[in-house]
């Protein structure tokens, strides 16, 4: 059996998405900038897709700019604001738990003379709006805080942060722009740009059963970004380059599917996720859940298994056909632990024993059952193999795993 529980890394394209894309590779292959009928057909598809993407997040179609994916969206948002407003100020606020697309962009700006504040998070993996308020300086031009974290699924208080920025503005501070990387929340929970009150929002198609290589940046009407790529006047002069029509069409269909059955899919993945957490903690001892238990997307579970290495667990699961991911990796004898779990204050060995399970609308109960029983077997084997197996904590964990006890678990659900 092959079980894919790594849907936060990427998802399978929906059959409807693939079917919609295919004609745009051949029959409708026009360049959307061309005046002739081939071009106009492509242009019509481009604009129809833009409406579908805009509808999913409550935006106007003109506020959607297609880009190559989440990374480019983050780059365009952050570097675009930095470039446009560098004369006004050179201070940016972000968090310690952002995706590398944001963190590395912020670091690149630091090398160019910008100042960046990396906000801490709570043990539950949440940023507090009060921290944002405290970090604001006269020179602050941008706040970039992700919507849902890719490792824990924790949903950050974006509307509270925008409220804090509005208060600063009322108190006389010049406008501070708010960007959110919503790659892990769009299509998973309701995302509305006006409710969140953000100026910029990054999206990616392949996380929501669309194709890879396409995404979008929402840019609130009136927000001006400096250019980071130079070329033609595509996308209302905001992103040059011939539009990737097949991918854009697929993205549009993925958004449409996401919008029409969002609640149903949310409930389904939440049920599976909660079932996994309940069964894992019932059958395996020494399990802790990471991240806020309530404020989170319904498709991600991040668990720590005492006394085992995440990568060994991942490889052993993969050999049994179960795909998950871990935030920690070891290279040249130096551990590179998850920056997210580390920022949450987890001890090193807990970070090391962490795994992320992420579900999709296509995940089934049967698959989850297989994953749980495989996981229980592997953890028992790895703990049995561990020299630390004779220590009291691990011993009790081992006994629990071997007897598949129904005893108390360490996390409350």
């Amino acid at each position: 059996m092959r079980v894919y529980l790594d849907n936060s890394a990427t998802t399978t394209a929906a059959p409807e998405v693939v079917a919609a894309m295919l004609p745009y590779f051949s029959d409708h292959m026009g360049n959307a900038q061309s005046v002739h009928s081939f071009g106009q057909q492509a242009k019509a598809a481009l604009e129809a897709s833009r409406r579908q993407v805009a509808a999913l997040i409550g935006a106007a179609p003109t506020e959607i700019v297609f880009v190559s994916g989440g990374t480019e969206a983050d780059n365009l948002a952050i570097r675009g604001i930095a470039k446009q407003f560098s004369e006004r100020g050179r201070h940016i606020i972000t968090t310690k738990i952002e995706h590398p697309a944001v963190l590395a962009t912020a670091e690149a700006l630091e090398a160019q003379g910008f100042f960046v504040t990396y906000l801490p998070v709570s043990r539950e993996g949440l940023v507090h709006a009060s921290e944002v308020r405290r970090a604001i300086r006269d020179e602050t031009i941008l706040v970039s805080v992700m919507h849902a974290n890719n490792e824990t699924g924790a949903i950050q208080p974006i509307s509270e942060i925008s409220q804090a920025l509005a208060e600063a503005h009322e108190a006389g501070h010049r406008r501070i722009y708010l960007h959110t990387d919503a790659v892990q929340s769009v299509g998973k929970v309701k995302v509305d740009v006006d409710e969140l009150a953000v100026d910029l929002l990054s999206m990616s198609a392949h996380k929501i059963h669309g194709p890879k290589g396409i995404g979008a940046l929402y840019i609130r009407r009136g927000v001006k970004l400096g250019k980071i790529l130079f070329g033609g006047h595509h996308e209302r002069d905001r992103r040059p380059g011939t539009e990737n029509i097949p991918a854009i069409v697929g993205f549009g269909v993925a958004c449409e599917l996401g919008r029409t059955s969002l609640l149903e899919r949310m409930n389904r993945t939440r049920d599976l996720r909660d079932y996994l957490e309940q069964e894992v903690t019932r059958r395996i001892t020494g399990v802790k859940r990471n991240g806020d238990p309530h404020q989170r997307v319904p498709n991600i579970s991040n668990l720590t298994f005492d006394g085992v290495d995440g990568e060994s667990l991942l490889i052993a699961l993969d050999l049994k056909g179960v795909a998950v991911s871990t935030g920690s990796a070891c290279s040249s004898g130096s551990l590179e632990p998850s920056h997210v779990l580390t920022a949450m204050g987890l001890p090193r060995d807990e970070v090391r024993g962490s795994l992320r399970f992420s579900f999709s609308q296509y995940s089934t109960r049967e698959e989850v059952d297989y994953a749980i029983s495989t996981l229980a077997e592997i953890i028992a084997r790895l703990r049995e193999m561990s020299p630390e197996g004779d220590t009291p904590g691990i011993r009790s964990a081992l006994e629990g795993a071997n007897s598949a006890s129904t005893g108390a678990s360490e996390i409350k659900l």
Binding site: A316, G333, L382, S386
Partner: protein, 119 residues
Amino acid sequence: MYTNQVADHIANPRNVGELDNPSGVGDVVNEVCQDRIRLTIKIRRGVLSEAKVKASGCPPTLAAASVLTELIIGRSVADVQVLGRSDVTNALGRLPAAKMHCAILAIDALRQALESCAV
């Protein structure tokens, strides 16, 4: 990322456990990543007649510990004294350069176990 041999040792680790009354014990920890290998051996008439191993850490550490037992059981002390990290990596097909320390840890465990017999 890993060879079939590494995968096989992860799926079916060999000679896992701890010998009673071993002739020697090697218990080594990589101070940086905390990977640990604990090897117990029995020597009879100059031959490593039995070996059991326990290990914790990343996949190559577990695989190196497991394959080490296959490399040493039934061989003379003189033979195993000259084993080096390349014997471990060869037996595993290959290891990524960044994981070479796992093979070194296995050899360290072997050397310590042999030395502990001598005293």
